[in-house]
Symmetry: C2
Subunit: 278 residues, 2 copies
């Protein structure tokens, strides 16, 4: 599988993980496969919704231009958007800054039956905050454990957590930034800040490596997704989602079957009572 699942406590060297790995498939084959997987994920999401005991939280992180918006848009093509909520985390507002860093994130954690997608997340508080030294090291360092406790809390109440780092090369980022200047429709995304942030590329990579290593857990794993090729990225994400949800399929079906049997029994009793009183 192109996406690499990081084991708990595994040391992460992003340099050594390719950004352009596409698996064994051609682009066309990959798109066919994505169609099948998307259908499967959509079906699994319907079961998640119907069974109502779990929720799914999908976290996206990555450097500027890594494709967070694109990857999310692709997911939204194959899930039912009605029970799905995308939350984007930008520079904190004053009221958000007046609370602990998990406050705004916890508020939009997905309720049972639904899917939550985070475009950036609480991880910014150990990434940009670390690189730009917005708080003392002791503060951001304590956050790894706070994040793990928080995600463990979500997991214990039925939230299935998957986290994606969209992994692009520095070269690919340059091309995408330059392309934005050419493309009138993407020019609104242009920002000098992106080029400035790019100067701290290595700092960000180190920050990502540590965050991913410290916060990849059994109940909330990190996946590093080669993201230089968008079609390979989208397929990798869909593969992980399908593999993550697949083990729940049988239990959900069994649960729904028993609900169905109960409903049928009640309906039969109701009809019998009508017949009797007629």
């Amino acid at each position: 599988m192109p996406a690499r699942r990081i084991s708990p406590n595994q040391i992460v060297r992003l340099d050594s993980i390719p950004t352009d790995y596409t698996g064994d498939l051609s682009k066309d084959e990959a798109q066919e496969r994505l169609k099948d997987l998307g259908k499967e994920v959509g079906d699994l999401q319907e079961l998640l919704f119907a069974a109502g005991d779990h929720s799914l939280l999908i976290v996206f992180q990555g450097m500027d231009t890594a494709g967070k918006d694109g990857a999310i848009n692709r997911i939204l093509e194959y899930v039912n958007v009605q029970s799905c909520r995308v939350s984007s985390f930008k520079v904190p507002t004053p009221i958000e800054l007046a609370h602990d860093f998990l406050w705004r994130v916890h508020a939009v954690a997905p309720p049972k039956g639904s899917v939550g997608i985070f475009n950036r997340s609480h991880y910014e508080d150990v990434l940009v905050v670390r690189v730009k030294q917005l708080v003392p090291e002791a503060v951001w360092r304590a956050r790894y454990e706070q994040i793990n406790a928080f995600e463990s809390l979500l997991a214990s109440s039925g939230t299935i957590v998957v986290k994606f780092f969209l992994h692009i090369s520095k070269k690919e980022q340059e091309e995408r930034l330059l392309a934005r200047e050419q493309d009138v429709e993407k020019a609104w995304k242009l920002s000098v800040g992106d080029w400035k942030e790019r100067e701290r590329w290595d700092d960000y990579q180190r920050a990502y490596e540590e965050a991913i290593a410290r916060c990849s857990t059994e109940h909330a794993p990190w996946y590093v997704v080669p993201a230089d090729k968008k079609w390979a990225r989208d397929l990798a994400v869909a593969e992980v989602l399908a593999e993550t949800l697949r083990p729940y399929r049988e239990p959900w079906l069994a649960q729904l079957a028993s609900v169905g049997v109960k409903a049928k029994t009640e309906l039969a009793e109701y009809r019998a009572s009508l017949a009797q009183s007629a």
Copy 2:
């Protein structure tokens, strides 16, 4: 001091803590003292508001009729209610139940500069939920650690946490329940449920003992407040609040002084520039 602070990991035997302890003061003396302490707490709260780096979270728990409403009303007489928010936690709503048990609590955690008062709290999820066996033991047992991690998160972002268990005797509760039946103005509080819950008195006391023992930490201590006498209870609460906030007084004053010096300097510069241009 009448309120007993529970040390981390201290074994708690509520039987052995008196419910009617009133200290060395008469009722009149206690009310005089409360006036002074209330003034002090009010002043400290103003500093907390002005300095803006901390918040205060006050948690109230206790058996039915223990006096949670009364104790909170008394605090509201001496704090500035403008920067204070009381949150009552009743039986969870469906949307609350669709999230982890800390979700609704985290949402109303006090922002910097303000005071939050909880009338019941996340502790209900290891109290009534345990006594009535609403979830399996493994689930509520994991919550002690989840609560400690959550309160530690709040503390790490500047929230000062104090937790009060209002400790009344079973006899005192009976008298208060009977009094409700006599008092037309309190009859709305009457509930057969209260008498039924009373049958599980011992189970609740055990649940409180374990919750208080496991979740009394340096950064979020539990206080057992003798609450048979309302005037002694209110004094004990005010004493704890004053003692909790007092150590922050000097740092807050120093911080405000430096803000003041800066503002004065800016003002002087502004006036000088006006004089120059005149």
